[in-house]
């Protein structure tokens, strides 16, 4: 890995006196095994690398990338970024991150066992996963996909402003999508298990979850429309938190795209809500000691006891807001520069189990899955409407399954209407943790 940092440092070192240069270099290997009907359906061995270069000159910013680390490509990429910068308009707040003296958390996110894990075992895991899911319930009629994936990801950031940062991490997971059938009706479910190394994976749990999620929807009908209390399954809560996180980024706030822009210090959520972004939690799927600009990640309480306390910042948004970076620069690969984003959001869990929460609800809806988050939720206006499936709650117990309904409210109201938080916090394969969440007065639309 010193190699990646060497490359990044070399590029940053090419900066002219009147410019700032940042180089972001990545190298990733991935293995994916898909099983189908007891055989390997596909086996992919992937290795990719690339570099992204950001140049700021006279307050103007340009970016360029290349999917190779060839020497000539590095030079060309820097020149291209420079050229791109000359066509942008100046912004006095543009500037690369500078070291802030915060020591990165000591996280062990790399395991050599991923690289050493024999191919045969990866295949065996995928096949076992498929077998276990099929065997989990007689109503499981097929498997849409059963896969094992592992990744080893290394990255480095260096800037002409003194940043030199390198990180590496491994990850692996198994995931399975089941088809359940009864009386000519089909339902689907998914299950997964994640870990830093293969030894942490539990295909049996993934299979059981996938079978359970599909079979419990069998017989689902489309109900009428009404307002009721919903319970978000942890998976759904984590997705909802992702949307909330988006509204709390300095970028959305400064550019007038957040409904919380002028609400610092206000009670924006029910007092039981405490929302924190903290990528230094080792158990988080997206744990990372460094952000996309090479600044140490840290714990940022965003909402405390319902009160909005902070926004997330990268170097640019912090400078513009007159604040300091919260280590929240995020990147989606090397083909674009860093933006601002939550990295590991979590609600402070409550003390009740999901069953206890449900026991207190006379008429409700346990939402096990949502669809169309990208099409029916507007993080600027706060309008929130998604497809939903799950189980009705009647007299404190889960009852019949429902399908083909939507649930709707607004992001603002959902936060205010929180009526309970479970104790079942779990880190999921996304940038937030899940926990059972009770929300009152949500509209369910059906027939």
């Amino acid at each position: 890995m010193p190699e990646l940092l060497d490359i990044a440092t070399r590029i940053a070192g090419w900066a002219n006196d009147d410019e700032q240069v940042e180089a972001f270099v990545v190298h990733e290997t991935e293995t994916e095994v898909r099983a189908y009907e007891g055989e390997v359906e596909s086996f992919t061995r992937a290795e990719s690398q690339g570099v992204g270069v950001r140049v700021i000159v006279d307050g103007k910013q340009g970016y360029a990338y290349a999917g190779t680390l060839d020497d000539t490509a590095l030079q060309e990429t820097l020149c291209e970024a420079r050229d791109n910068a000359s066509f942008a308009e100046p912004d006095e707040f543009n500037g690369l991150a500078v070291p802030d003296g915060v020591e990165p958390a000591s996280l062990e996110l790399w395991s050599d066992t991923v690289g050493a894990f024999p191919t045969e075992n990866k295949i065996a895991l995928a096949i076992e996963l498929e077998r276990a899911a099929l065997a989990a319930d007689t109503r499981i009629s097929g498997i849409e996909s059963a896969e094992y994936i592992d990744t080893a990801y290394e990255s480095a950031v260096a800037t002409s402003t003194g940043i030199t940062a390198a990180a590496r991490e491994t990850g692996c997971y198994v995931s399975v999508y089941t088809l359940a059938e009864a009386d000519g009706e089909t339902q689907t479910g998914f299950g997964f298990s994640i870990g830093r190394e293969p030894g942490e994976l539990d295909p049996a749990i993934a299979a059981a979850d996938a079978a359970d999620r599909a079979t419990r929807l069998l017989g689902a009908t489309k109900p009428g429309s009404e307002r009721l209390t919903v319970v978000f399954d942890p998976w759904v809560t984590a997705q909802f938190l992702g949307i909330v996180g988006h509204t709390l980024t300095g970028e959305a706030v400064l550019k007038g795209r957040s409904m919380f822009a002028d609400r610092l210090g206000d009670a924006v959520a029910n007092p039981m809500v405490t929302l924190v972004d903290d990528a230094t939690v080792p158990a988080a799927f997206t744990a990372s000691a460094l952000d996309g600009e090479g600044i140490a990640t840290r714990c940022t309480p965003l909402i405390v006891d319902g009160e909005l306390q902070a926004f997330l910042h990268n170097a640019y948004s912090a400078r513009r807001a007159g604040s300091s970076s919260t280590g929240s620069a995020v990147r989606s690969g090397f083909k674009s520069g860093p933006s601002v984003g939550a990295q590991a959001l979590t609600l402070l869990p409550g003390k009740q189990s999901q069953a206890d929460l449900i026991a207190g609800i006379d008429n409700g809806f346990l939402v096990q899955g949502v669809s169309g988050l990208h099409s029916g939720v507007n993080p600027v206006s706060g309008d929130f409407s998604t497809g939903a499936e799950g189980l009705r709650i009647r007299n404190g117990e889960v009852a019949e399954p429902v399908r083909e309904v939507t649930i709707a409210s607004t992001v603002q109201r959902l936060l205010q209407d929180v009526a309970g938080i479970g104790d079942d916090l779990q880190w999921l394969p996304m940038s937030s943790a899940g926990v059972s969440l009770v929300v009152g007065d949500v509209t369910m639309s059906g027939a």
Binding site: E37, E47, S225, K335, V380, G387, T406, A408
Partner: protein
């Protein structure tokens, strides 16, 4: 992109351990984009990504590896890795010789974006921004994005196929935020075609700026959308997303083959209203989902999927077609050389009907009129799908009245297809889309005339 001898040697290496089919996919993609936000040109980005993906099929197993190293050594290593991944049993030397297939190339790009000065591209952003802001002080934020890409591909396989394509796409979008007493609202307008910079001969970026601004301002007075099942009229162009989700994905042969589609085993059956003829057509020159050659070396096809309501065929890629002993329909696509191809849509549309669009609205007592759709999502196994409405109005007494807030609509594909009772004569293609499947995004187009669905559930909050 690569010489034939090197391709032949690479394929031979891939087949050495007993492969039944091997393929080399080479891609060289250059992209550039420019973003204006918050009143200024924020950043220009450009880059290049090239490499080769090699797959080897043995029995029902596919091995795949890719490399950014297009030298003989790099290709050979990837070919060996793919062969090992397919776990062939060893079969001795196989000689492969490819020859170019004869495919009519798309109309040449008139103005290659790489020949256009960056300052000219940036100038478009400024025009759109100014036009949008001129719509009134309610417009509190504007962002505009220009993007172009040139994707050259070469596909060669052990059946002897050698095909190349050169795909140029240009895209422009404007997004506005309007703020008022009711909070913030957004409006968006986008255009994208498989053409060069001549896109802007027809696309008026100032008009796009104005329209996206109007959309956001209109929504400031939007009331909560209804909750429950109502008649829904979808404007021309917009409804493509509905069909993309309601049945497009369910007609992809890979999902059908796994029993994960409600449309499995239904060819020949009446699956939709007799008004519905659904076509997937990669040959539509200039459209966003157009190409000459798919990512498996097959020419793009004009494929009738539903004719007068009767299911006629699914969409096929090489792998699924091979199993069925038929030809691929030219629907094998992949996001990049780093991905395996699978069955994907191209430009999916419903042919025009005979109704007067205004009469369709006038004949609807009450319901919802959707002028612009967002994306959508479907569970192909159950047929349940959602799609978002980003500009919609109430229909009251046969007239379009108040704007309503954003939200999803939900329906079940097979049911909704039978509930289409009116089809206008005003066919239009919709906005450029990116279709996501299994983690891969590809550009797709869609189109419809104005249409009415007798009942769809609108996911609003109003009783």
């Amino acid at each position: 992109m690569l010489n034939h001898e090197l391709i032949n040697r690479t394929l031979s290496t891939a087949m050495r351990t007993g492969g039944e089919f091997a393929e080399v996919f080479v891609e060289d993609k250059r992209s550039s984009s420019a973003v204006l936000d918050d009143g200024r040109v924020e950043e220009l980005t450009s880059g290049r990504d090239r490499g080769a993906g090699i797959r080897v099929v043995v029995g029902d197993t596919t091995g795949f590896a890719h490399t950014a190293d297009l030298s003989e050594a790099g290709l050979s290593a990837a070919a060996e890795a793919a062969a090992a991944a397919a776990r062939g049993g060893g079969g001795g030397a196989k000689v492969v010789a490819v020859s170019p297939i004869d495919i009519e190339r798309s109309a040449p790009v008139r103005i290659p974006p790489e020949d256009v000065a960056k300052a000219t591209k940036v100038g478009l952003l400024t025009l759109a921004n100014e036009a949008a802001r001129a719509q009134g002080s309610a417009i509190s934020q504007v962002s505009a994005r220009y993007g172009d890409s040139r994707r050259r591909i070469l596909v060669a396989n052990s059946d002897g196929v050698l095909a190349e394509d050169d795909q140029v796409r240009t895209l422009f979008s404007v997004s506005c935020v309007a703020s008022g007493d009711t909070g913030l609202q957004t409006g968006r307008e986008s255009t994208g075609r498989t053409v060069g910079f001549e896109l802007f001969d027809e696309a008026d970026v100032e008009e796009m700026g104005r329209r996206s601004a109007e959309r956001a301002i209109t929504k400031l007075s939007a009331q909560p959308a209804p909750s429950g099942a109502v008649p829904v009229v979808v404007g021309p162009g917009g409804g493509g997303v509905l069909f993309h989700e309601a049945c497009g994905h369910g007609l992809e042969a890979d999902l059908v083959g796994k029993g994960a589609s409600v449309f499995a085993n239904r060819v020949g059956e009446q699956v939709a209203s007799p008004l519905v003829t659904l076509i997937d057509d990669g040959t539509m020159a200039g459209e966003w989902g157009h190409f000459a050659v798919d990512d498996e070396g097959r020419p793009a096809g004009h494929n009738v999927l539903i004719q007068d309501g009767v299911l006629t065929d699914y969409m096929w890629d090489q792998l699924r077609a091979r199993k069925e002993g038929r030809l691929s329909s030219g629907n094998g696509r992949r996001q990049s050389y780093q991905h395996l191809p699978m069955v994907r849509m191209t430009n999916t549309y419903i042919t025009a009907g005979h109704d007067d669009p205004e009469a369709i609205i006038a004949d609807t007592d009450s319901g919802v009129y959707v002028a612009q759709l967002g994306g959508g999502q479907v569970n192909t196994a159950t047929g349940d799908f959602v799609f978002g409405m980003t500009e919609a109005y109430l229909i009251e007494n046969g007239e379009i009245t108040d704007p309503i807030r954003e939200g999803n609509l939900i329906g079940n594909g097979p049911e909704v297809l039978t509930r289409i009772d009116r089809l206008g004569h005003d066919f239009a293609m919709g906005s450029p889309g990116t279709c996501g499947k299994d983690g891969q995004g590809v550009p797709v187009g869609d189109g419809t005339p104005t249409l009415r669905v007798t009942s769809l559930t609108v996911g609003g909050t109003a009783a």
